[in-house]
Amino acid sequence: MSTNPFCEELTALLPRLRRFARGLTHDVADADDLCQQTVERALRSRQQWQEGTRLDAWVYRIMRNQWIDEVRARTRRSQTFTHEEEGVDVGMAGHRDAENQVELGNVGRALARLPDDQREAVVLVLVEGFAYKEAAEIIGVPQGTLTSRLGRGREALLRELGEQA
């Protein structure tokens, strides 16, 4: 009886996936939901994964796309609702409530303030340790775009955390 390499590898990836989810969402509940959705999607689509390619990059791409979809959906909802009801918190950078920001700490706050595209570039390269080429493939942009987002994100973080960094 054979074991299942896909499922084994996916299980081994879970700690890293949870970290990436937290880096992307900077929110505990969002990160948990995102992880769950990502694993569900990965299992459903596992026939599309090509053996011999990196499973981590494949799953990161799923996670990243799920999050982008979620952010877009929230933006749409907030655009629909804010005309009628003010103060809808959509959970994006710049919209966090004060209490949440205290929990995040300085680094988390600075990360949360980055635009989404810069944050994902920063997290993929500086935290998750992907090479530029891999990170660009995960996001689905040319490498030059990745490095320019990474550069801007870094600058902003260094500005904000400069004294501590």
């Binding site: 299942n4 499922c7 299980t11 879970l14 937290r22 880096g23 680094v107 997290v123 500086l126 490095t147």
Partner: protein, 273 residues
């Protein structure tokens, strides 16, 4: 020689090699300003890493690992039962477990198993008698539960599935009549099948089954998935045990072993003859 910001960043990120890396390295060591910037970049990396590292160190929530284990078990089941030839990219059914339901089901199963055991120790004859109706509607799929598969609890030997590791040890040592088996493996009943082999009905939480000791090995004759493996069609509480008990009745010669007989069989190493 000037170094661009992009080059400096690529250098810090380990993206440069060979001559490029040497050139930047030489420039950095000659210029304290560049050295300071490199140190800032490295500190930033450390701060970000430290900020997010605790999450990767946390225990992974059970719902995620269970979901993957269930998918693995399901895939194995399909491979063994109905893998059609020439259709390698067959779509996987989108079965996603609802974890609260699955957990509730596991707890219900555990309670039901207790009841079954109580019935067995109290009045074994009556239980065998009433399970005939269940046997009539019995459909047992061969499901290799992820649980024992993961731990190397079941191995293939000459085309048969043989218990090993924790499962084999539990089958050898745990007594159904004791009723105090530690989770996750419980013994529900022991009996003899025609030919004299001793067999045992076990409940491993996610996988339950019947194993018979034949020629020194515990051969797994039947397995059924617990609620966390069979998604989409949740079983009634305890139905996995009910099915197994009914199957056991079909296999058994006579009544299930009582406490004394079970103890004696264990002492003999479950050798049937």
């Amino acid at each position: 020689m000037s170094i661009t910001d992009a080059e400096l960043m690529a250098f810090v990120d380990g993206e440069l090699s060979g001559a490029d890396a040497e050139r930047v390295s030489a420039a950095v060591s000659a210029d304290p300003g560049l050295t300071a910037r490199i140190e800032d970049e490295r500190r930033l990396r450390t701060m970000l890493g430290d900020h997010l590292a605790p999450i990767a160190a946390e225990p992974v929530p059970e719902n995620l690992t269970l979901m993957i284990a269930a998918a693995a078990a399901e895939e194995t089941e399909q491979d063994m039962t109905d893998a059609p030839a020439g259709d390698p990219i067959r779509e996987q059914p989108a079965r996603v477990l609802n974890f609260a339901t699955a957990r509730a089901q596991r707890q219900a199963d555990a309670r039901a198993a207790k009841t079954v055991r109580a019935a067995l120790s109290g009045n074994a004859r009556r239980y065998w008698g009433t399970s005939a109706a269940i046997a009539a509607s019995l459909v047992l799929g061969l499901v290799l539960g992820s649980q024992f598969a993961d731990r190397g609890g079941v191995i293939e030997r000459d085309g048969a599935l043989v218990a090993s590791g924790a499962l084999a040890k539990g089958l050898d040592t745990q007594l159904a009549s004791a009723g105090t088996d530690a989770m996750p493996l419980r013994m529900l009943a022991s009996f003899r099948r025609s030919g004299g082999d001793f067999c045992r009905v076990f409940d491993g939480g996610r996988t339950s089954g019947i194993a018979c000791k034949h020629e020194g090995r515990w051969t797994v004759e039947r397995t059924v998935a617990g609620a966390s493996v069979i998604a989409g069609e949740y079983r009634q509480a305890g139905s996995a045990q009910g099915e197994l008990m009914a199957a056991a009745q079909g296999m058994a010669e006579g009544e299930p072993l009582d406490a004394a007989q079970e103890q004696a069989a264990q002492t003999k190493g479950w050798r049937g003859n």
